[in-house]
């Protein structure tokens, strides 16, 4: 347990929080990298996924993208991008983060739209709703839990990849860990790992709350039976899982 205690001691030492390579700076870098990449990825993947789901076409594309995303190591993409002319630029990291955020968002958006109760869609059509009305009034509200599940999964993925960016000298909290390894400072390695882990858990918790808060049907889904408890969880295990 000594290693963990040393790590905590390192974290609670105020001297490690300030400065250009301190925890504070790295934390801010990490958060804005994650936020910006998620915004870009959502802007790209949500419209495509929702639209394909609405049309009911391109299913194989949506599923295959997530399969490919899972098989390609994030570290390999980071290393390859680093060796392009982009090099040390911050865009190397952002492009890698966006690339790995797209598959879960796209696939979950697609699956979310496809899983909408066909009876509800048929009833809406019968009432004379147009394609656009159907999309906005029926399909989107019903698809929100799964769509948000994808965004939540992507956030976890992006946070993890942002940590890994440190290996190619990118910004973010991972730098604390890698420079700890470089200086053979065990307390710093563990301290950095603790703060990255805590940040990931906090963000995941916040995303879960957000997912629940934006579900327009949450009151209708009162007292879910046990089997239904996982509804709204990211599509697992055979659809979307990736890690970094």
């Amino acid at each position: 347990m000594n290693g963990l205690l040393d790590g905590l001691g390192w974290l609670f030492d105020g001297a490690n929080w300030g400065g250009p390579a301190g925890i504070g700076t790295r934390l801010v870098e990490h958060l804005w990298l994650t936020g910006l990449s998620m915004l870009i990825a959502c802007a790209i993947a949500l419209p495509i996924g929702l639209w394909l789901g609405h049309l009911g076409r391109g299913g194989t594309l949506a599923i295959n993208i997530s399969n490919v995303g899972r098989a390609v190591p994030t570290f390999a993409i980071l290393a390859l991008l680093y060796m392009t002319p982009l090099g040390l630029s911050v865009w190397t990291t952002i492009i890698a983060l966006v690339l790995f955020a797209i598959p879960p968002i796209l696939t979950n958006a697609y699956v979310g739209m496809r899983e909408v109760d066909p009876d509800a869609v048929e009833a809406a059509r019968g009432m004379g709703m147009s394609g656009g009305q159907l999309l906005r009034g029926i399909e989107l509200p019903l698809a929100v839990p799964l769509v948000m599940g994808g965004v939540r999964l992507a956030t976890v993925q992006v946070l993890a990849t942002a940590t890994l960016a440190a290996v190619i000298s990118g910004p973010g909290l991972g730098r604390i860990i890698t420079s700890g390894f470089g200086r053979q400072d065990l307390a710093q390695v563990v301290g950095g790992a603790i703060i990255v882990g805590v940040l990931a858990l906090v963000v995941e918790g916040l995303m879960a709350l957000l997912q629940r808060a934006v579900d327009p049907m949450r009151r209708a889904r009162r007292a879910p039976p046990t089997r239904e408890r996982d509804r709204g969880m990211p599509v697992m295990p055979d659809e979307v899982v990736s890690g970094a």
């Binding site: 399969n67 190591p73 570290f75």
Partner: protein, 234 residues
């Protein structure tokens, strides 16, 4: 020797290694041994992790079904573990297991649990109640019921999760390079820091190929283990 240029260029070795090409046959020829070594390490770490992960997940899934209150705890804990970035998880294990394959394997086992426990539970939950009841009526109980009736019927869901777990474990093994046991990840890391294009690209491509081969092998194994489904699908 037919010379097309000045003589001194012919004395300089000019090959794809010197030009630092992305695709380089010379690299594969000259570094064959270390590529094979990295490949073996990669496959070994992945295989051990998935096998241990599957065994643990099976026990956890059966326990979760036996005692309902455990279900939420097991699923919640494994999901939380999955959230922790791999670089941080390996670093957290580092003080205990040091620079060793054990550090990487423990981390990978923990990650695979999220996928495998869910998959096995999904499969077992989907066994129709009347099938289970008939089996119990025929005298199956406990372990025999699980082995002869429930597990075979849960096979498709279990294999689906096993394939996902294996493919993502192969990708994640690369991060093990932080403790020098990342298989092909070691090559990527070294190639990246010395700006060696062919080394990084070759190792990356091999990772993906490895994942595709493993996925195909598991699919084949599934077909072989569930011969009754072949009749259904064809």
């Amino acid at each position: 020797m037919a010379l097309s240029g000045p003589v001194h260029t012919a004395t300089l070795t000019d090959n794809c290694l010197v030009r630092n090409d992305w695709v380089c046959g010379e690299y594969i020829r000259t570094r064959q041994d270390e590529i094979v070594e990295a490949l073996i390490q990669h496959v070994t770490i992945t295989a051990i992790s998935v096998v241990i992960g599957f065994a643990v997940a099976l026990v956890l899934a059966v326990a979760a079904r036996r005692w309902g209150w455990l279900r939420g705890t097991i699923l919640g804990t494994s999901t939380a573990l999955y959230t922790i970035p791999s670089l941080a998880l390996f670093s957290l294990l580092f003080p205990f297991t040091g620079i060793s394959a054990t550090t990487v394997i423990i981390g990978l086992v923990l990650y695979s649990l999220t996928i495998l426990v869910r998959g096995i539970l999904t499969g077992l939950d989907a066994v129709p109640a009347d099938v289970r009841e008939s089996a119990v009526g025929m005298g199956y109980d406990g372990f025999r019921l699980l082995r002869n009736v429930e597990l075979p019927l849960a096979m498709p869901a279990i294999f689906a999760s096993l394939r996902v777990a294996t493919v993502s474990t192969i990708a994640l093994t690369t991060v093990g390079m932080i403790v020098n046991h990342g298989g092909l990840g070691n090559l990527i890391n070294r190639g990246q820091s010395s700006n060696f294009h062919a080394e990084v690209l070759t190792a990356s491509v091999l990772c993906v190929v490895l994942a595709l081969i493993a996925d195909a092998l598991l699919l084949g194994l599934q077909r072989w283990l569930t011969p009754w489904r072949r009749a259904v699908s064809s």
